[in-house]
């Protein structure tokens, strides 16, 4: 199965890196959407279905916590896995994010295999199921 993914981070370069990491690691992506903050992510979700969201916490306009709250309040999105890709290390803040519904987090800097392993685990896939990703376009 190939997944629709939404990358949410105010750093365009970080979004590029995560997208590339996922692609090169063989993670199966159908479409890859991007947003620069939580509000833009919600705008993307108005018109597009995603299977997984990777989001930073610290962003202007609407941060990761705001996004998690908005998703939890929406029946359509409350069960979509959200993984945080973040520099946050404060245990209380990370627990707050998990309490708001995040399924896990990866701290920056990260190794590519860390993201891949966590996503596969969350999506219920094993490494043996992975295939080379099809060409995808990332829309912003």
């Amino acid at each position: 199965m190939a997944y629709n993914i939404l990358l949410v981070d105010d750093s365009a370069s970080l979004r590029k890196v995560v997208r590339k990491v996922l692609h090169l690691s063989g993670f199966k992506m159908n479409q890859c959407f991007e947003a620069g903050n939580g509000q833009e992510a919600l705008d993307v979700l108005k018109d597009n279905w995603v299977d997984l969201i990777l989001s930073d916490i610290h962003m202007p306009v609407m941060d990761g916590f705001g996004l998690l709250k908005a998703l939890r309040a929406d029946e359509m999105w409350q069960d979509v896995p959200v993984v945080l890709v973040t520099t946050e290390s404060n245990p209380e803040r990370l627990q707050e994010a998990l309490d708001l519904g995040a399924k896990g987090y990866i701290r920056k800097p990260f190794k590519p295999e860390e993201i891949r392993a966590l996503l596969l685990r969350l999506l219920g896939e094993s490494d043996d199921d992975s295939m080379a990703a099809e060409d995808e376009e990332c829309d912003f």
């Binding site: 105010d10 750093s11 365009a12 370069s13 970080l14 590029k16 890196v17 590339k20 610290h58 962003m59 202007p60 973040t86 520099t87 946050e88 290390s89 404060n90 245990p91 209380e92 803040r93 701290r107 920056k108 800097p109 990260f110 190794k111």
Partner: protein
Amino acid sequence: MTTQWQPKMKSVISELLETMFFMSVDFEPQVPVETYRLASSIILARDLQKIQIDLFLTEPFAREAASNFLGVGGDEVSSHDIEDVVKEIANMVAGSYMTRMEDGNWNLGIPSMRYLDSGGDVPDEGLPISYLGEQVGLVILSEDSEGK
């Protein structure tokens, strides 16, 4: 200016630049060949305490870091890419430094970036970053407690 923070900061910067930028640096001061053109700042805050981390980089180093980070050639890197990467470096430095602090519960701010004029105002003291025998960066950590 205290230098107690520098051992932890060296570990943070080395790990970050090697893991995500594929660059191995050292912290021996060298004579800078290029002036620092880019500066990024980020604040850690807790109650009435504030820590500010300032990162100064030369443009060629920032460009190479952006090129490595993005996996593209140096000539494919735009100035916007470089600015963004410099901010992200400051962001990850601060976040990683937080994990090494003995007392937690700091809140991490959002990094800012600015260009420095030629001969811009850069402090003399700090942690130098050297790459391939040239000094390419400087990190300064300053602490402030209200009422001090």
